[in-house]
Assembly symmetry: C2
């Protein structure tokens, strides 16, 4: 089950969170960050495979990741799910419920994770005092729109090998931003999750990882990936 962590006394505040300015980076001074800390009254531990929230939940909150990794997915009426995003430490998810109504997606932990909770009602109050926070949330929201448009573009226009290359490069860029090596990291999700996300089967993903390895573009051992030829992956996506 998800474990709630009380945040009253000596628990870590935003001001000295290890993620630094990754979570809310935009022009925010230290006093503003103090306000942000006030916003996060709750942090939860979620075990691998557990839900952070379900479709229909009316908790009225958005979430940022402190440690771990999360996937979000939507569901259709015949039970099929589609993964709409993978989220890494410092990234914010659950924005589909920002309207303070209810979540239209599930959020599931890909590994044991620690997640900060921000309630939209608190958020409305604090944001009114801090204009930069207001702007930051709009930025997050349009960022989410742009992200899903990018995914749509990939699903609609790329071949299977291009999609997988795109996925690898996207992950690489995001791990880099987190301060990890840009060409050596551990994938947090299964082949099945990757396939679902990219509109492919797990077999196709596996075959393409193998092919890329044979061609010397990457080295892959289970979920540990090392990018050997960043350029080649990049150019693979370039032309149809």
């Amino acid at each position: 089950m998800t474990r709630h962590i009380a945040l009253n006394k000596d628990s870590i505040h935003c001001a000295n969170c290890m993620l630094g300015r990754i979570c809310m980076p935009q022009k925010m001074n230290l006093t503003d960050i103090e306000h942000l800390t006030e916003l996060i009254k709750e942090r939860i531990r979620v075990a691998k495979g557990e839900y952070v929230f379900h479709i229909g939940n009316t908790s009225g909150a958005i979430y940022s990741i402190r440690t771990g990794a999360i996937k979000t997915q939507v569901e259709n009426n015949c039970g099929h799910t589609q993964i709409t995003g993978f989220f890494l430490p410092g990234e914010v998810f659950g924005l589909d419920s920002f309207t303070a109504q209810q979540h239209t997606s599930d959020a599931i932990a890909l590994e044991d994770s620690e997640v900060c909770v921000m309630y939209t009602k608190d958020l409305n109050i604090v944001a009114q005092q801090i204009p930069s926070l207001q702007a930051q949330f709009r930025h997050l929201l349009s960022g989410e729109i742009i992200r899903s448009h990018q995914l749509l573009l990939s699903l609609g226009s790329l071949r299977s090998d291009q999609r997988v290359a795109w996925f690898i490069l996207d992950m690489s860029a995001r791990f880099t931003q987190l301060g990890y090596s840009s060409n050596e990291f551990i994938l947090r999700m299964s082949r099945e999750d990757i396939g679902n996300y990219l509109g492919l089967t797990l077999e196709t993903v596996s075959r393409l990882f193998s092919r890329f390895q044979k061609e010397g573009l990457i080295h892959i051992q289970q979920r540990a990936i090392r990018i050997l030829d960043h350029e080649a992956l990049q150019s693979l996506i370039k032309y149809k």
Copy 2:
């Protein structure tokens, strides 16, 4: 070219716009709507095929449709475009630039259209005075996220015939909301646009319209569509 319409004296205000409460429906009283009118200082006419905005435009505005129809599309580095949405009168588009940075999509008129322009800088000011407007914009933004998640779900999980059925029903629902007949309307876009949007070729779309007609689900003559068996279309999407 796009023609700008001065909105100083006797031009129509939001308060007596024919769309009524469709454009900004949420709990907004008449005084609030007066404020909304102040927000819309500009309205533009766009001829069929013309752009409302291009990728990279920094106009810092969002748009709502008074008459006509608009498509938005994103582009990848090899020139392929992916349509991310079709918009009808009363609907708001261009939200990807709400961050006041720049548009990451193109908006193109599917027919001669009239479009209201709301600048985000004005919007920030007015929204601070009207909390309900603040909420309304957040609602629009998360609505946009939900919409693109729905599209992702369709692209990722539905067969070609299910996608086309889904498209027809979605259009039907939206025309209904506009006060038109729910089972007889004119599609505003070409087969190619529909195909692009749904991740199919125009031939596949055409074939499926024909098949649905043969099966008695719809009647289609060019872009004029009449839904004959709403139930059957609905149930087509239900199971894999």
